[in-house]
Assembly symmetry: C2
Homo-oligomer: 319 residues x 2
């Protein structure tokens, strides 16, 4: 069977992850990378994103490696006019609107979009839906981390005197155990602690720690840890992009606690987000080949469609 | 919307679990229980299983709570002629044949079967397939337990002098950690230990322990623990049916380890198996309502179909 030809739109962290991951997939090849820049540090063909429509005979699915703030909502409905797409749109509240917008254009043009793949939304969404279906009266909680929070790291770096800084969000061990027992009433603030690593002059440290702890929205009400470290340690240990988390569903089936837990431990967040997007790119291609058109969330895609292994082999091997 | 009317076929541990779980589901009601016996200890209508075909206007889906050794392969193709079915057929090697047999009859009769639901096969199958699709070059391992093994418990009880006995299968902590790091080469025997609790006269204990440790197939090659306890302790602590396990997939995305772990901790094994079967009964009903016919494994069912929550609400809430 001919390989699935992948195009990448956008060449930031996620685009570079998808580029290297395409090479790990047994049934895919990288066709080209769309960018606003003329040249990129890559061996793949680089195509001008403004001419997206004229390259659609050269690829099967475009993986949209663009920001969720403005790029995806503005540009994705234009891309889906011309080709199958997968995105990792992560503005949870806006997913229904985005899916509907993509569905309309996809149906008009006979294309397939899989929207909001990745791990949250994405794999975590799948586990929330399945967990609640299995244990309908149960308690469910999502925990994020241990992981680097981009927004909170930006916030600590804005404090005067902070030379370098990162913030990791960490699930509280007590909250994890309570969730596994199906206990109610844990809030986000009880469930996570915020651990900061900061490089700063010693004279500034007390003030910096105080400013971080009293920062509204970001830190007030959370258990906060502020660690001051030297720059060499920071550069050696805190420049990665680890992340992960848990979806825990626990329910009582008449006197018996049943607990379901889905855990991700990711040494590099964009790599795993990209891995999810690529797997659903396979589903987008297959759905289109089967004559379907429209937009799908991960909840609507039969799981075997994301696997490179033929269904008969999956049934014989995995079931 | 009218509730989904569930019939139960067979009234052992699984059938009784499905009976109580149906009451927890917001959109289901129990129509009746098919049995070979005239009367059961239940408030539900009891119907003679020999007259299955004449009751099909009274229910939407039959949950087949029957043994996998002979009942399901022999009887399920007859039931699917007359009504939608869900089963928990767990003879992994025979699933392709069973699915094909059910698919043929279901398509001839316009019915829908979901086969081999439960947790393994079932939820674990789903996680094996998805994990390998996301991390195609990765290592994957399934661990069972801590959990009561019926087969091994039967085996220890056959040893002369054993008054009461159970065997729990327990994943080795070292093997779990190795799997999370993506290490290769762990076999089932290295990955699990077998812990027995036995009630026996003191004079017999040395011989019994030796017979257990040297029992081929069941215990030889495994790390084995044999604990002798008194009967009161046994009755208080070892008459439940706990089980669970892990599906761990870990892959390297170019220098970074990404780990996916799905964990079940079940205080009562048949309750969770029944919960899975009921959720897929909902999918069987919906697929039939949508005009589909045939047999499906869990890999072929879009996840939203198992949820009592409408798709639009799932997308707004879970994605």
């Amino acid at each position: 069977m001919a390989p699935i030809r992948i195009a990448i739109v956008g060449y930031g962290n996620l685009g570079r992850s998808v580029e290297k991951l395409t090479a790990q997939q047994p049934d895919m090849e990288l066709a080209g990378i769309f960018s606003r820049r003329d040249s990129l540090d890559t061996d793949a063909p680089v195509w001008p994103v403004a001419e997206f429509a004229s390259y659609t005979d050269q690829f099967d699915v475009a993986v949209l490696c663009l920001g969720s703030a403005t790029d995806i909502p503005e540009q994705a409905p234009e891309f889906i006019r011309h080709a199958n797409t997968v995105d990792t749109y992560d503005n949870h509240r806006d997913v229904p609107r985005h899916r509907a917008a993509m569905d309309k254009v996809a149906k008009e043009n006979g294309t397939v979009a899989v929207v909001s793949t990745g791990w949250d939304p994405g794999m975590f969404s799948l586990n929330r839906t399945i967990g609640q279906a299995l244990l309908p009266g149960g308690q469910q909680q999502t925990f994020w981390g241990p992981g680097l929070s981009q927004g909170h790291s930006d916030a600590v770096r804005r404090v005067e005197g902070v030379k370098k800084g990162v913030q990791y969000t960490i699930p509280s061990p007590e909250a994890l155990d309570a969730a596994r027992q199906g206990e109610e009433g844990l809030t986000g603030k009880q469930a996570h602690l915020r651990r900061c690593f900061i490089v700063a002059d010693e004279a500034d440290q007390e003030r910096i720690e105080n400013e971080i702890r009293t920062m509204p929205d970001y830190f007030v009400g959370y258990e906060v840890e502020v660690n001051f470290i030297d720059e060499a340690t920071f550069d050696a240990e805190h420049t990665g992009m680890p992340h992960g988390g848990h979806v825990i569903t626990a329910g009582d089936t008449g006197g018996y606690v049943q607990s379901i837990e889905y855990t991700l431990e990711l040494e590099r967040n964009p790599d795993f987000t990209g891995a999810c997007a690529l797997a659903y790119a396979r589903a987008a291609h297959r759905l289109r080949e089967a004559g379907e058109a429209g937009a799908y969330t991960v909840l609507e895609v039969a799981p075997y469609l994301i696997s490179p292994t033929p269904l008969e082999e999956l049934i014989a091997r995995d079931v």
